[in-house]
């Protein structure tokens, strides 16, 4: 057990930490939602993550994503992995620097208990959720977390084993800018569901 994990035991029982560490997580997308969900999950004790993202970091990502100026131009998935390993050096993080699509995923997210949808485009979100809903115990998806004027509440809607977190309305493709407060609160809620489920609270 490393120093970080010893620190976690100030707040969690050994049994709780064991439960959390046994959960295998898959994350589709390492942008605003994905990078923040991953960070919160690793801080919460999760240490078995698989992440797919094809993108490289741009200056316009830094307003909400878990990256820094020196990271511009680097691949998101691998860069995120480095930050996660800085928190827990014993974490097992598998990354794929490629675009997710319905065809090329034979070996991606096999035997993951919890799969998190954190993509940008609505058609990709739909394809991903439809594809994985019967392949994981739990699927958590983010839907609507943009806008400067937060009149829309971020809620959780449960359909079977799918948890959809967001306001379901604000659309970055329709002029609602993705800003840190709402994106990160949506990501935090998604991570909270994974944590609660892992500890048997949901």
């Amino acid at each position: 057990m490393n120093q970080f994990e010893e620190g976690l035991l100030k707040y969690l029982s050994e049994d709780q930490l064991k439960k959390i560490q046994s959960v295998k997580i898959g994350i589709g997308g390492a942008g605003g939602l994905g990078s923040n969900v991953a960070l919160i999950l690793v801080r919460s004790g999760f240490k078995d993550l698989e992440i797919i993202d094809f993108d490289n970091i741009e200056a316009s990502n830094l307003n909400r994503q878990n990256y820094y100026l020196d990271d511009i131009g680097k691949p998101k998935a691998e860069t995120l992995k480095n930050y996660l390993m800085d928190i827990n050096p014993d974490a097992k993080i598998i990354t794929h620097h490629k675009k997710w699509d319905k065809i090329s995923l034979e070996n991606i997210f096999k035997n993951r208990h919890v799969i998190i949808e954190a993509f940008d485009h609505p058609s990709q979100k739909k394809d991903f959720v439809e594809y994985y809903q019967d392949k994981a115990d739990i699927l958590i998806s983010g839907n609507g977390m943009a806008g400067l004027d937060s009149k829309q509440d971020i809620t959780t809607k449960r359909i079977n084993n799918i948890f959809i977190v967001g306001d379901n309305v604000t659309d970055t493709q329709k002029g609602h800018p993705p800003m840190a407060p709402r994106v990160i609160s949506c990501a935090a809620k998604m991570a909270e569901i994974a944590l609660d489920l892992s500890l048997g609270f949901l």
Binding site: E117, K126, E130, I159, V169
Partner: protein, 69 residues
Amino acid sequence: MLSMKITVNGQEKVFESSLSLENLIENLSQNKDHVIAELNGNIIKSSKWLSTAISDGDAIELVTFVGGG
């Protein structure tokens, strides 16, 4: 045929003719490529929408994805 009463996202709707899940989603959604559908507790993948008939009393949940992640 008799009219058919179904529930979509908690709201009651009445249809006068038979319809498939695909018809219903085309009727109610701006872009079916952004929608997932649950029928009576089960997720129905889009490839099955056309062959899935809606019946009286069905409960349907539609989720429309928006951009941002």
